[in-house]
Symmetry: C2
């Protein structure tokens, strides 16, 4: 059993970036009506790739959730930006010699997105609200950019606390 | 006075791309639990630039709205992805010899984002819901990527119908 942790930049740093407005804006723009939190994702589209924006519409999930499949994208980073103010679950694992190591689960709060670093093992998209709509910024280009791994001992992920 | 039009891909094409899930997904992924609407934005980060993800938090606006300032980014495209299911106003204008031509206004519905083509004249970010939170995918790099133009006869933008 794995408890979902709060999604913080420090805890998530080995896996990717938290896209939120924690802290103060880097710049104030638009006649002082807008704060810009600048360049918050370590994007990486590898050789031969370029950035693309796609939309994902995924079926809502709920906790507890049994995770039997993780995947990674060896050629590029992948960012998930929720298009509704709803939470989602972010499941990741460090690499352990070509297979996923111990799984961790983070609960993205409304207003938070994530950018997964190139090659980060992660679960499939698991919205916890009804909308399930995300903008995904990832690599467009040739090559095999998906590796899947079925977990032999699928963990059950539960809400924190 | 300018009436805000519904935001459709066809009407908006000269200015940019509508980011939404109109139509059927291009691919079904994640064990059939997710539809991918693939590569929907004409991204362009120009020479010497790269893609970045920033977050914008803007003050909510309401209609009618007087628009006195438009701007454009000569070195790259700029995409706005709302992080709450709330409408926003998208004001654009064609270029007319280095200055903005006739202004048009589009009403982005909840679940819609936009990508502005490189060099498109546009108004500043005008959320019509309370959250005002957007992910912005635009160019990071050297050079002057902002040109502003004050409208001598500021139009008033009103809701459709």
């Amino acid at each position: 059993m794995i408890r979902a942790e709060p999604l913080t930049a420090a805890a998530f740093a080995p896996f990717g970036d938290v896209l939120d407005t924690a802290g103060t804006p880097d710049r104030i723009i638009n006649q002082d009506r807008c704060g810009r939190f600048h360049d918050r994702a370590r994007l990486d589209f590898g050789p031969g790739g370029r950035a693309g924006i796609s939309l994902f519409r995924a079926e809502p999930c709920s906790l507890p959730l049994t995770l039997d499949l993780v995947e990674r994208h060896p050629l590029g980073s992948q960012a998930f930006v929720p298009m509704a103010a709803e939470p989602f679950l972010v499941v990741v694992a460090p690499d352990a010699g070509g297979v996923p190591g111990p799984v961790r689960a983070f609960l993205a709060a409304p207003g938070q997105g994530v950018n997964l670093l190139r090659g980060t093992w992660h679960g499939v998209l698991t919205p916890l609200g009804p909308t399930g709509l995300f903008a995904v910024i990832d690599r467009i280009g040739p090559g095999t950019n998906l590796e899947e791994h079925t977990l032999s001992d699928p963990p059950v992920i539960v809400a924190a606390g």
